[in-house]
Amino acid sequence: MKLWRFNGGLPSLAEHKNESVHLPIETAPVPAQLIYPLLQHIGNPAVPLVKVGDKVLRGQKIADAQGLISSPIHAGSSGTVSNIGEHLIPHPSGFSAPSITITTDGEDQQLEHTPCADFRQLSAIELVAIIREAGLVGLGGAAFPTAIKLDQQHKTKPIETLILNGAECEPYISCDDRLLKERAISVIKGVEVLLHMLACKQAILAIEDNAPDTFSSVQAAIDANGNPQIKVVKIPTIYPTGSEKQLIKTLTGKEVASGEIPADIGVVSINVGTVYAVQQAVIEGKPLTSRIVTITGEGVNTPHNLEVRVGSRINTLIEVCNGYTNKAERLIMGGPMMGFALLNDEIPVVKATNCILVASKNEAVTDKQAMPCIRCGACASACPVSLLPQQLYWHSRADQAEKAAKLNLLDCIECGCCDVVCPSHIPLVQHFRHAKSALKADKHQKHLADIARERFEAREQRLALEKAERAEKSRKKKAALKARAAKKEIEAAASRAKEKQQATSNDES
C-alpha cells in the first residue's frame, strides 16, 4: 500500500518499549476502593444515579450521560457507594473534582449481561445507542465519546475509510501492542462491528514497523476472520505517527482541514483499545469497566501491562509492580512526550489512562538551562504540523498571543518534537500551552465584554427612547398650553373688537 509522509517528526524516538513490550497482560486485583471522577471524558460531566449507601454490582451504571457530548460511568466491581464528593483527579494542575467512591465487597458480582448473537441484525442507530450506553470513550488518551464519532445520522459525507490506530508511537507505552498480540481476534471482531455500523468499504489497521510480531499476530487474526475489507499495514516508526491527523496523512495522503474533523474527509479513526471495547460492549454486552494500562519506568521494580479496573488508585497498581525503586522521581500519566505529571499516587486510573510512567531523574527531569533561541530552525524541521515553533515562541514569550494565533498556534498538537530537538533546551510547548490558554481567556473576556457592551447599548437606547418620549410629551403639553393661551387671546381680542364696534355704532347712532 502506498504511504505518505507528514513533515518532520522524530524517527529516533521509538525507545524504551523493551521494558514492557514483552510482558503479557496480567489482571490487577480488585482494589478496596474504586474512585470515579464524573468527568473523565470530553464534554459534560456525568450525573450520579446512585447515592451514598447504595449497593452496586459490576457493570451497573452509576452515573449517566448529560447532554449529547458526554458518557455514562459504570461500577467496576460490586460494593457500596461510600462517598460522592471532591477527589483528586488526573489533571496537570492537580485539581479535585466531583467523584463517586465505591468501597468494594470483594465478591466482584456482576450484573447480568446479554451477549449478542448476531450484530448484523442490529441497525447502526441501535449499535450507536449500545456503544453510548456502555460508556465508551477514546481509549488512546483523548477520551472523546465514541458513539458521537460513529453516529452517521447527521453527517452528510459517507465514510470511506475506517482507520484503526495501532501506532503506539510514544516511548514506553505498550498496552495497545500487547492487546493486539494477545486479543487480535476480538479486535478484528470489533472492526467488523464498526464496518457494519459505518457501512464503509475498507478498514486499515496501522502498526509501526518496529513491532513485526504484533503485525503477524494481527495478520493471522485477519486471515482467520476472512473479511476482505480489513487489512493491516506497517507504517514507518516516526513519532507522532499515532496522532490522528498524522496517521490519516500517512495512510491516505489526505489532510484534515484546520478546525474540521476526519469525518469531513470521509475518514473515521479509532484507537485499537477502543475497538476492543466496542467488541466487548456489542458482542459480549459488557460496559467499559476495565482497560489495559502499562506501568513502567526506572521508578518501579517490575514493569507490567495490567488489565485494571477503571477507578483503581495508582498506588494499588504500583503494589502489583512490587513498589517504587529508589530512582523514582516523578509520576507521569501517559507517555513522556504528551503525558503530564501527577500530584500523588492517590489519583485513580480513568478511562483515558494508557500508561503510568514512574520516571527516574534521567528519564523525565531536564536540568539543562534554557538558552536564547538562535533561530536554527530545527523545531520547524521537526514539527509534524509544519508550524514555525521558533516564531510562535517569539510571540508567545512577548505575550502577543494574537500574533501567534495568526501563525496558526491553535493547530499545534503539543507533541513535543520541537522541545526534543531544540539545541537551546527551550521548553517550547510549555510556552505554547500558556499562549493558548491566554487566547482562551482573551476570548472569554471578549465574550463577557460583548455581553456588557450589548447591555450597555440596550440601556442607552432605552434611556434615549424614554428621554425622547418625555420630550415629546412635554412638547405636546406646552403646545396645548400655548394653543389654549392663544385661543384666549383671540377670544379676548374678538370681544374687544366687538365692544369697540358696539361703541362706534352707539356713537354713530
Binding site: 513533515n7 538558552m371 530552525g377 520547524a380 508550524l387 521558533q390 516564531q391
Partner: protein
Amino acid sequence: MLWVLIALLPGCITMIWQFGYGVLFNIIICLSTAVVAEAWMLKLRGRNIKPFISDLSAVVTALLLALALPTIAPWWLPFVGTLIAIVIAKHLYGGLGYNPFNPAMVAFAVLMVSFPKNMTVWVLPSSLLANDIGLAETAQLVFSSLSSSPIIDSITAATPLDEMKTRLNLSQTTDEIRHAAIFSNIAGEGWQWVSLAYLAGGCLLIGKKVISWHIPVSLLAGLFIASSIAYLVEPSISPSPLFHLLSGGAMLGAFFIATDPVTAATTLKGRIIYGLLIGLMSYIIRTWGGYPEGIAFAVLLINMTVPMIDQYTRPRVYGHK
C-alpha cells in the same frame, strides 16, 4: 559550536601555511579579546557568564573575523574589530540570538570603511616571498612598526580580487591579467588552497548535520550562475566562475558566515532565497561596487531582508490551504 571550530581548523592551518604568522596573531588577538569582551558584557548585563561563554559563540565570531582580516595587521585592528563585533553588533542588540546582523561581518565592514589602508595590506603568499618572515619578525611588525616598516612594500600586495578589479578598470583583459604570478592560473596563489580547505571544513559540517546544505549551496550557486552568465557573454573582461568561487571569502562566507542561524532566514525555502541573494549580491559588488570583495557587505545587506524572506516563505501548515 565546537564542530564549527573544528571545521575551521583546516582553513586556519592552510591560511597560516600560505600567508604566514600574521594570521596566527590575528587569531590570538581576536579570540582573547572576544572572550574578555563577552564576559565583560555579560557581567554588565547581569547575565550568567558561564553558560554563555561556554557555548563558544563569541569564539566562533572572533575566529571568523580573524580569518577575514588582512594577513598582516597592526595589533589594534583585530582588537578594535572584535570589540565592535562582540560589544556593539552582538550585545548592544540584545546578545546571543537577538542580533539582526552577523557580528563578524559588521566588524569587518566597519573596519573596511574606517581603516581602508590597513584593510588592504595583504602579505604575499609565502611561495611568492623571497624570504620567509619569521615569528619574531611578524610579532615586531604587528605590535610596533607595521606602517613604518621599510620592508612592508616588498612583502605585501593586493589580493587577486583587488588586482583583477584594478586591472580590468585599466582595460586589460582577463587573459592578460591571469598571467601575473599572484593568480597561479585559477584563483590566486595560496587562495585556492585556503578556499578548498574551507570547502572541506564546510562539507564536514554538513556531514555532521551541524548546518544544512541549503545556504552554502544556494550562495555558491548564486555566485556561480551570475559569473557564468558574464563569462559566457564577455569572457575577455569577466573572470571565470571558478575564480569567483575559489578566491576571496566565497567559501568562508558560504559555509561559515552566511550559515549563522541567528542572522539567516529560518525556513527551508527562505534559506535558499537567502543564499542565492547573497551570492548574487556578492557578484554585483565584486563587479560593479567600490570594493574588490563583496561577501561581507552582501551578507549584511541580505541580513536586512531576512524578516521579509521569512514572512513570505512560511511553510503550508497541516490542514491549511
